[in-house]
Amino acid sequence: MPSPFKAILADDEAPLLRYLADQLKQIWPELDICAEARNGIEALQAIEAHHPDIAFLDIKMPGMSGMEVARRSADLCHIVFITAYDQFAVQAFETAAVDYLLKPVEPQRLARTIQRLQQHLTRRTFDPASIHAVLRVLDERLPEAPSAGYLKWIKVPDRQSVRLIQVDEICCFQAQDKYTIVQTATQEFLIRKPIKSLCEELDPDMFWQIHRATIVNAAWIDKVSTSVTGSYVLTLKKRPGTLTVSRSYRDRFKSM
């Protein structure tokens, strides 16, 4: 008799983990569940330690997401994703013919999935490439995907603590020696980051440099007018005063 197939289960929520284990024991009693992981890191360790044939992975787990675990072990074992609700993911799974289960796990659905698994495993026909393909697709859509890398938050020292300011709360940045003044609608803060670094780290569509020493949040511009000297002057929403655009940075406004 061939050695039984091995599987590991991973879900951060204990009731769900137990439920899946119970269901599997009922429908596929010969399956050897060698490990139950409570987070992504444990899951990866279990896969590397036990070399299972199948890994049932919850998608949202602390430590390391189910996606990340799958990315690193798609070549080692067959992956079955488990998700509560995710339109995009489900669509992607369907398209790539990747196995997945919806929470709460229904016995009939589980039985069908198990049948497929048994077929693939006996014939050794499962294909890691489909997992990689689906992960690429999901990378673009799921919130866990790496963001564009632009700054979304600025940490500013505020008395005894560190305040977190979302970039869309910020009206403009003004250079002050090696520091930068961060201006919101009502307050000003001083941060150590120089204007140059900010230029590189902020979304250029959202923040426009209008002067060697000034970056403005484009959404806060109320009006652009021309001064007597011909330079552009910006009036801002929610804040009194104006900002002048220096000659070298005029181009953006010329097209308006």
Partner: protein, 364 residues
């Protein structure tokens, strides 16, 4: 030719010229046409009344002077685009003067009648000019007023559109609130948990089902009334936290500090819940060992301060963690103006501390 016809035709022309060129579109064919038609009639009238010239002559002179003034008026206004009533009157007066003179000269040349006949009657000419200017001025003011009325009407219309827009935004916000409250991920995950507990830990399963029911009922009720009390909002949040306590086990520790006296204070729904949701889903749930969530409500003089602090993973660049916060900020702005704020700071040793400050309102 009597000077009166000059007077009559100019008056009407000025009126029409000013009206049509108020938009400063330049010379309008329609106005020239109307002027020409008016002049034909005027010429006939004058021939009949004065009997000192032929209809043909009257027609030529009328058309020359009239059309010339019309052209000068409209060109002048279009060229100089006067923005104030005085400037406009000045432009029109100059146009009448030059246009009239030019027209008279041309008319005289074409009909053979000497210009002298016009100039002879200097006093009449002066009187005519003054009358033209006065009439021109009155007409200007009238049309300025008309324009102001149109402008005001436009403004009212725009304000109405703005108001409808904000109402629409409010409705959309309520819809979004509704969607957020029945957030599918949360719903299916919780139902999943309930199902899995019913066989093996029925007591826990039933408790979770009760909590889910309370949460949904409270959330839906809030979207309908649009206003709630701090106590009710906290009850909703407690149901929410109970669900997560079962799901996360020891990974979630909850501490709440809400003074009895503050329970009945009126409060806007779904301002605190998103902060709690963020604290758990983006903060504590991301940590392998979870952590603590601490919710406190206190009154400091005129300010009501609500703090939601977690010891979770804290500030990490990446996912759309900020989404709910912009909405909270907008609503605080709309409800309290500058007196409502949302402040986020780093918690010690890890995590985030979110504070909502609003003006203190007496309990209901």
């Amino acid at each position: 030719m009597s000077p009166t016809h000059f007077e009559k035709s100019s008056k009407n022309l000025i009126g029409r010229a000013i009206q049509s060129s108020y938009n400063y579109k330049g010379i309008s064919l329609k106005d020239l046409g109307l002027t020409a038609v008016f002049n034909c009639v005027l010429a006939g009238f004058l021939t009949f009344l004065l009997r000192d010239g032929t209809y043909w002559n009257y027609l030529i002179v009328t058309q020359c002077i009239g059309l010339s003034i019309c052209v000068f008026c409209e060109s002048g206004l279009w060229l100089f685009k006067p923005q104030s009533p005085w400037r406009m009157v000045l432009t029109v007066a100059a146009a009448i003067l030059f246009g009239g003179l030019l027209g008279a000269v041309i008319g005289s040349l074409l009909t053979g009648i000497e210009l002298a006949t016009f100039v002879e009657q200097k006093i009449f000419t002066l009187r005519i000019l003054v009358l033209c200017l006065v009439f021109g001025g009155i007409a200007s003011f009238y049309f300025m007023a008309q324009d102001k009325i149109t402008q005001t009407r436009q403004q009212l219309q725009e304000e109405r559109i703005q108001r409808l827009n904000s109402e629409k935004l409010a409705v959309e916000a309520r819809l979004k609130m509704l969607q957020a409250q029945i957030e599918p991920h949360f719903l299916f995950n919780t139902l999943s948990n309930i199902l899995s507990l019913l066989d093996t830990e029925a007591v826990k399963g039933k408790a979770m089902l009760r909590d889910l029911t309370s949460y949904l009922r409270a959330a839906l009720a809030e979207t309908r009334t649009g206003q709630t009390t701090l106590g009710s909002e906290m009850a909703l949040i407690h149901a929410y936290l109970n669900i997560f306590k079962i799901r996360m086990g020891e990974r979630l520790q909850v501490q709440t500090d809400i003074d009895e006296a503050l329970q009945a204070i009126p409060f806007s729904p779904m301002l605190i819940q998103p902060l709690v949701e963020n604290a758990i889903i983006h903060g504590l749930d991301e940590e392998i060992h979870g952590g603590i969530i601490h919710i406190r409500a206190e009154r400091e003089n005129d300010i009501l301060r609500i703090t939601v602090a977690d010891t979770g993973q804290g500030f990490k660049p990446g996912p759309a963690k900020g989404m709910g916060l912009a909405n909270i900020r907008d609503r605080l702005e709309a409800l309290y103006g500058g007196r409502g704020r949302l402040i986020l700071t780093e918690n010690q040793p890890t995590g985030i501390k979110a504070v909502i400050e609003v003006p203190y309102a007496k309990p209901l």
